[in-house]
Symmetry: C2
Subunit: 427 residues, 2 copies
């Protein structure tokens, strides 16, 4: 693995050193992103049934094993004819042709169309031998056993040629493609039973804290419900991952370490990410692996950490729900998406809109400001701390204020990342 | 049910009348949308485990059953104190306070903080009785059993008050909300075990045609693989529906009718939607229900039909894969989304870009033109018919040309609906 690009960042030298001290140095968001972009991305492949592969990312190019269509066929309902037999036909010059049979999808006509003959044919049915065009039903008056052609067709008219959609061996879809509904249709039509796709990013969530009750509990006394694991699960699924396990562990270093070392592509630890006496995870990652980042100049989420343990990426997310969401969005989600073969960029819809009120920030840190939108203007939510999870449910989205900015005046055009994008139901 | 708004549209008067005749009249796209918007939307509710409810649509407003937080708590690591004890403290005037205990999350401090005392406290831990502020660890020098405060805090500083995020009884989320990851977190944190959401739209897919092989087959002879049902399944899942069954039936009226009458909110029939001799579905809907629309002035998909049978919506989609996709996008998807509580509008990302080449269309019909995008310009795909499913996989999206337009010259700004949006994996 590459050496971290900024060695001054980690404040963890020895376990005792970090307790109740505060962060001696905070990395910039850009430094963190640069570190993340140096991390190797595991590209695992699995075969998935084509009919279940929508939304998955192809690992290889896929070639058609057959011609599509597999035979010359009619593109209209009408009559298969020799085109030259219709030369000069019009409403005023109806030309008679004998009906000698019919061609239906999957059955066809076994004979050969001769001059002066016509075979009734349905859309999609095979073009009989001898015929070279389809005269549409609309240009025909049908009688008992003959038709009167009132229109002219050139050779090839209304005929779909074998292989004109796809030739056997032709590349249908390329590696990296996120499969769309119509891609599934195309693959199925050529007989592709399964396709090689990126395995979903396998994410382990470790929720730490003696105070945590499992989801589905009512908060009681001084205990709170572990809601971060449920929020993170939905985020991971949205980003192409699957949660292989949620481990809820007390503030015990041995239990936290064991959970962090269990199988996964990426480990998300929620809670205990800071420098307090019960913040064990950063110390453990520093002792047993590499704590590359601890403390970032941003708000919320400044007590976020990340590093590597047993070769896997570990993100130490603040227990505070808003910080947890923000830290996931900025850092962890980027890697979950990339392991799944998706773009590292945010999956949020963007809007450029003017600020209704001024939006203040502090030089030296990146701000993740929750906002609402009304009447085409952006209203910053006036929220003190990072504790208000309801601020992220009231918000329509967020605005990023870079570290070198003190914020923006009313009327300034800002980019809003909207929270209302499609979210996948957790299976 | 309301009377159809345009009685002249349906061309089906008697079964025999429509066979091999062509459409005597085509409805406009606007007329079809107006008819659809008059159809009742079933609003069924089901209770779903909160942790699996991301992406689902709430049926009721949800109120918090508890205060969040449930107790006054520290927002920083530090010391719980009486704020007045810190008055005048600075780096040059360190004020001593006796450490009398600690407050950890879920445990707390059982005593009461007196004047001159401090209780070591962690973020999220309950504020002990007697204390009214938290002095951050950074503003303290800790000794054996006392601290020296080097900073001043006012009452309430770094304290999260009970109920400041949410009061018991307060509305957290309103009906109609599509649940986001952070909404799941908020619901779980208040102890909501399950939530009432719109039931997924229950869609039945009926694939008709003697020539059809099931997905997973290789096309052989004159038989083709039923790929439309796989494409439609992915589209339905994307739009908040679930496919309750895929019925593959031969071109037998009794079997088609039986499949169309089986349970579902919405029935999508693929194939046999036109006016040919084997196009049974329109005749059956006209005979046993109401065929409100048959034939629409658009390309592709003109032989699309829709109506009601046994009180459920039935869409007759052309078997041609491109027409099937287009007809789903224009008409069926709109209703699948609405039954699921989602917006009727297209889920496609939009881009406004200039045309690289001219885009021609015919007055009197709506065109669904597949396009690619390169170097910020839109390139129409030169495709003859509607048969090329590969045209929809090569395309980056589509442009709609209204019925009153002959198309646009090169350089004209057009709105592209992009196919690359998120697509959910079919479970």
């Amino acid at each position: 693995m590459d050496e971290p690009i900024f060695k001054e960042a980690p404040a963890v030298r020895a376990a005792a050193d970090v307790r109740m001290r505060g962060f001696s140095h905070r990395a910039t968001v850009q430094q963190v992103l640069a570190w993340l972009d140096q991390q190797p991305v595991t590209e695992s492949t699995e075969m998935v049934a084509t009919i279940q592969a929508a939304g998955r990312v192809l690992c290889d190019e896929i070639c058609s094993s057959v011609d599509v269509p597999g035979f010359d066929r009619a593109m209209m309902d009408g009559y298969a004819v020799q085109a030259r037999d219709t030369a000069g036909a019009s409403m005023y010059n109806r030309l008679p042709l004998m009906i000698v049979g019919q061609s239906l999808p999957s059955v066809g006509f076994s004979g050969e169309v001769q001059r002066g003959q016509a075979v009734r044919i349905m859309t999609g049915a095979p073009l009989p031998a001898g015929a070279d065009a389809v005269l549409p039903a609309e240009e025909v008056t049908a009688e008992q056993d003959r038709i009167l052609a009132s229109g002219e067709v050139p050779p090839g008219k209304h005929v779909g040629r074998r292989g004109e959609d796809l030739r056997a061996g032709a590349v249908m879809l390329r590696a990296g493609r996120r499969l769309r509904p119509q891609d599934i249709g195309l693959l199925v039509s050529t007989g592709a039973v399964s396709v090689p796709v990126r395995r979903r990013t396998r994410v382990r969530i470790v929720s730490t804290g003696n105070e945590l009750l499992p989801p589905g509990s009512l908060p009681t006394g001084y205990q709170i419900v572990d809601s971060n694991s449920s929020m993170l699960t939905a985020l991971v699924v949205r980003d192409g991952g699957e949660v292989v396990a949620v481990d809820r562990v007390p503030d015990q270093p041995s239990e936290i370490l064991a959970a962090m070392r269990s199988s996964a592509d990426i480990v998300l630890v929620s809670g205990g990410s800071s420098v307090g006496q019960e913040d064990h995870a950063p110390v453990l990652v520093a002792e047993h692996g590499e704590l590359a980042i601890h403390g970032v100049a941003m708000r919320p989420s400044s007590p976020v950490g990340m590093g590597r343990l047993d070769g896997r990426l570990v993100f130490l997310l603040p227990g505070n729900p808003v910080s947890c969401l923000c830290a996931y969005d900025f850092f962890a989600g980027r890697m979950v998406r990339q392991f799944a073969g998706l773009s590292p960029e945010w999956p949020y819809r963007q809007e450029l809109l003017p600020l209704a009120n001024k939006l203040v920030s502090m030089i030296g840190r990146v701000d993740y400001a929750r906002v609402t939108m009304r009447d085409g203007a952006v209203i910053p939510l006036a929220i003190g701390g990072a504790s208000m999870l309801s601020s992220t449910t009231v918000a329509d989205g967020f605005v990023i204020i870079p570290a070198d900015s003190e914020g923006y005046p009313a009327g300034h055009q800002v980019r809003v990342y909207c929270y209302d994008g499609p979210t996948t139901a957790v299976p």
